[in-house]
Symmetry: C2
Amino acid sequence: MTDLAATYRAYLACLNARDWARLGDFVDEEVRRNGERLGVAGYRAMLERDVDEIPDLVFAVELLAVDPPTVAARLRFVCAPRGVFLGLAVNGRRVSFAENVFYQYRGDRIADVWSLIDRAAIEAQLMRSEISPPSGE
Amino acid sequence: MTDLAATYRAYLACLNARDWARLGDFVDEEVRRNGERLGVAGYRAMLERDVDEIPDLVFAVELLAVDPPTVAARLRFVCAPRGVFLGLAVNGRRVSFAENVFYQYRGDRIADVWSLIDRAAIEAQLMRSEISPPSGE
């Protein structure tokens, strides 16, 4: 078995580098996300859309549990989605939120992703920023 | 190091048995949930409230990653919350949803919990059941 923690961190580095040409090194040809078959092309399209909506998107690990063939990560995002994100009108405000995500590997590639994003945290931050606008704006 | 997978499964068995008197065997005195200090008493109060709102609540493991001192689980719930749950008027309808949750252990007890629940899945099921009511009702 390869070092799955290193394999996973290389995948995140690929995303953070927007190195889409290498995505197929990390993601299975038949990859599924939340039960839906995307394939590498559909997965890449999803990531390109994410990065278009959130140009400063960086994937950062807050917690990691590696138990082959499963990897679980709590990721932390601090970023400014340009417009509507997850149905919320973020409109360029800076927000912080977590994703709790499970990956099932097939060999050294991701075959299944089960992701939940903390939308409620973003909603709470937007409500606070509407009550008390940031100083200096 | 004890077998953390077995320790975690014993914790879930304790919850499924509603054996609150033993909760302190599995949960640290200072336990926090999503950054908020609950302590064993507050954690127990939360679980008792959950079970009051969802009498048929059963904790079932769908995916597990054990990487001491971290445990990550994707849990699956199939249950019928009696009234409003997570702000949704479930009103006794049977729903299925996942929780992606990370635990940080201190020794053989849970010290920190980082949980996200798939509220959107419940919302989608309620919308579908409003469009096409179940047969036999």
